[in-house]
Point group: C2
Chain length 201, copies 2
Amino acid sequence: MPKRPADLRRAILDASLALASEGGVGALSMREVARRAHVTHGAPYHHFKDRSAILAALAAEGFALLTKEMLSAMKDEDRGSVARFEACGRGYFRFALRHPAHMKLMFRPELANPTEHPEVDQAACASMQVLVDCVIECQKAGNAPAGDPMPLVVTSWSTVHGLAALWLDGPLCRMKGFAASPQELARRVAHTLGELLSTKP
Amino acid sequence: MPKRPADLRRAILDASLALASEGGVGALSMREVARRAHVTHGAPYHHFKDRSAILAALAAEGFALLTKEMLSAMKDEDRGSVARFEACGRGYFRFALRHPAHMKLMFRPELANPTEHPEVDQAACASMQVLVDCVIECQKAGNAPAGDPMPLVVTSWSTVHGLAALWLDGPLCRMKGFAASPQELARRVAHTLGELLSTKP
DNA sequence: GCCATCAAGTAGACACTGTCTAGTCGAAAA
DNA sequence: TTTTCGACTAGACAGTGTCTACTTGATGGC
């Protein structure tokens, strides 16, 4: 029988994530998590108040990873504010592809009550701030309409989030023939937006 | 004690939808559904193979409602193909606001396995066809780049779906101050897109 | 060294869940 | 009238989240 892990809290989060990846949030049960961490079914309660606390911790962790992924994508980009804005969107989409289980947990307020787990909203706001700063940079450089940045933030966020959501949870990924890979899908959508932007009067 | 409903199948779907609206999919239990339909816990199994069959039926029903809402929004619009395209998007967003519980069930493939419940995918394809036809109409009228309509379909679908998803499940609706109502939110996003389209060279 | 303290894990209990089964009942068909 | 059959009931089973009391092992002060 394998011995107990040194850092049970981390082991619980890892086991939970693995279960969520394999069979969705529904397959994530406290007892199976405990089993995978080689510990009895009561042990996780010493690290998390209840099941939703695990989900909240994973959601907050997801937003932190998203923030890092966007910042990392922008760091290597030095061809101006618009290029950095695009890199930010690519970072968002890449995060969704790399961490689908996290992604699904992050946008399910019924799983982790936002008023009970404010750390999730805080982490979400930090992620959004990256995008806000990005848009403000574009505005300062004269590459976006001046004024309140929020409309632009919400519009671009919606497009990239919608694309990721439709790919992960929608019927999009089951429609063979349109896009062979998600990367190609994102490229085509980005190209379409660019075409629209450039062909209009 | 209230008597058994005449159409138990419909009563089960209604009770399931009510439960999902109140506490999310997690609160939807076969036994509570049966209780609300004033029937014993085994009765629902005569109308649905298992719990996921109920969810699949609701998801398919949701896509049918979505199709109807988009078609109805377009029917009253006779100011050209672009106006009909915009009406289609408004219909999508309005559906999401009016039927949030349906909406959440429709985009959770882990709840109702698509291979086990092909009727969901079929209904989803019918919904998408509305948008495809809409884009093709714009192309024929010379109001959209010619060629494969799918890139435009996916791009616009992503934006409106992302907006709805962020409003229903994301931190957007908890950010007071930006948009007082979802209608205003949608108007501002649509305006932002329009502004982008018209101010670019 | 010894003992108190305390976080971390165990083991058992409880009410609840999804699903299976055998049995019941009433209406329609023969 | 008897048979058949779909719809429903009632009981069982394993599995679940969460609570509780109990054990254990390390840590600190004396």
